[in-house]
Amino acid sequence: MRGRRNRKSAAAFVLAAILPVVLLVLSLNIGAYRIPPKAVWSTIIDAVVPGGTAEASPYADILFRIRLPRLLLALFAGAALAVSGASLQAIFRNPLVFEFSLGISYGAAFGAAMSLVFLGRKVPPQAAAFVFAIAAVLAVLLIAGKAASQIVTILLSGVIVSALFQALLSLVELFANPYALQSLIFWLMGSLGQATWDDLALTLPVIGVGVTALILLRWRLNVLSLGDDEARALGVDVRREKMLVIGLAALTTASATAVTGVISWIGLIVPHLVRMAVGADNRKVVPLSAAAGASLLLVADDIVRTAASFEIPIGILTSVVGIPLFIVLLKRSGKVWL
């Protein structure tokens, strides 16, 4: 009996690992520019196998310069947001926490605003967004002070810092000229299609390292989720390990948000969906959240790319679908955390 359960569990994990890859391959075939599936395969093979055809296929540009970076960004950003959400929920012992609660989203938005409105092209919005997202997290930790590992204090600080950056953002918008304001509004709505390989060359490895580290910490999150006193009694250096988790979550989501703009709700909803399916044990929740977040964001972006001749900003799609879904989940499950 135990063997059968383990095998089912192992199967679930294998499926979860494969799903994003399968979706990636399928998504490569989707897009405004019709490329027949055979051509997709031959282009990929030509690129991978050395000594392919000498002439550059017109499809190669689309597949490798336009689609692939966008799809990879969707996978990595989705994983980053979901894993960070799951980790933060564990250490703050509050299922309603996600990267938003640390002030990251508004910090990044303010950074982008500063860049687009005041700094012009000298400082690209991605860099400024990242810097201010991290600054927001540091501000949250600073305000919480010594009690930084206590749940209520840090959530309160998060609310304060978010409110502060939101107000500063409004201030910048007030003084922005219409040219910059347009760019800013567009950035704030969130988009996966703007990133180039140059942007991703730095972002993807950072997210990869962060997500991997958080997945390695998955069992530790079970211990930390017992509460400070109990975890300490079990021999854990609570303050240091919580800071590590917060730091990793901040790093991954700030990197993602800096490039994609604000995409909400993935960090909150995906871990919940996963918990509803497999229970609360973080050994399962964290890696499955990564896979689920990656897959969900990829599918959402596929919808954005193909639903109409114009693109809905993906942040709006995740909110419009995510919020009602979340309400349904809340009502169905009774308790939020099962």
Binding site: R93, D229, E230, A233, L234, G235, G279
Partner: protein, 252 residues
């Protein structure tokens, strides 16, 4: 494992716990009793070194407990809180596994060894078939047993249990205390429990420590230390001691 308390002082708000000197017997069950607010839980928490006491030292086998790194301390002392704070509905085995934290590096996951220790702990407390049961679905008594199993999985020589019998019905009360005794007798653990129920203490403890107002009023084996004058002094009401059918009972 010998626990020795030296000049311990811990105060918060209006209350001060002050214990100039106290030793806990090795491989025995010691019951800490006293009225509400006497400082029982505080004493236990100081022993667990969850928060280092501002004054005084707790020595375990001659080592200053609060000077030890967390991992080493956890391998010496295990603490079972009265009510676990829980948010997530882990399965029983998963819950018990967290007790292995001191043996598993931060970036690692439990190995076969750890799983064995957890299962063994569950067997000892009699919750064999409960591995996959969700924690929220257990009764209070079962949850207490799971907590004890977790501390057992920690494989520490000293176990500190805070009010393990509170809110349990008489049958479960006895079950828990039987288990506590088995810990000392079969496994050679040094066990310190805080108790409200005096008769439980009298029946199951090898030693008793009476606290009142943050100070130790008396300490020693129950039959020696217990007398009506002590009870009146500690609890401020009249209580009598009666021997009935070979058992010593406390009567009000």
């Amino acid at each position: 494992m010998k626990i020795r308390v030296d000049r311990l002082a811990f105060s918060y708000e209006a209350f001060t716990l002050c214990v100039p000197s106290l030793t806990f017997a090795d491989a025995k069950v010691t019951a800490v009793v006293g009225p509400n607010g006497a400082g029982k839980s505080t004493l236990l928490k100081c022993l667990a070194a969850v928060h280092p006491p501002p004054k005084g030292t707790v020595f375990v086998n001659g080592q200053d407990l609060s000077a030890l790194p967390g991992k080493s301390r956890a391998r010496l002392v295990g603490y079972v809180p009265q009510e676990p704070a829980f948010t997530f509905n882990y399965a029983v085995l998963g819950f018990v596994l967290t007790g292995r934290a001191a043996f598993i590096p931060a970036l690692a996951s439990p190995g076969r060894h750890d799983l064995e220790a957890a299962r063994e702990a569950l067997r000892f407390v009699g919750l064999d078939g409960f591995e996959e049961r969700p924690f929220f679905e257990l009764s209070s008594g079962e949850r207490r047993l799971v907590l004890i199993a977790r501390t057992l999985a920690q494989q520490s020589e000293i176990l500190l249990l805070d009010e393990p019998t509170t809110f349990l019905d008489p049958r479960h009360e006895s079950e828990i205390m039987e288990l506590v005794r088995r810990l000392a007798v079969e496994k050679g653990k040094t066990v310190v429990v805080t108790l409200h129920a005096l008769d439980m203490a009298v029946k199951y403890a090898d030693e008793m420590v009476f606290l009142k107002g943050g100070a130790v009023v008396a300490a020693g084996p129950p039959l020696q230390v217990l007398d009506e004058r002590l009870l009146r002094a500690v609890y401020d009401i009249d209580m009598g001691l009666v021997d009935v059918g070979g058992r010593r009972l406390i009567v009000r």
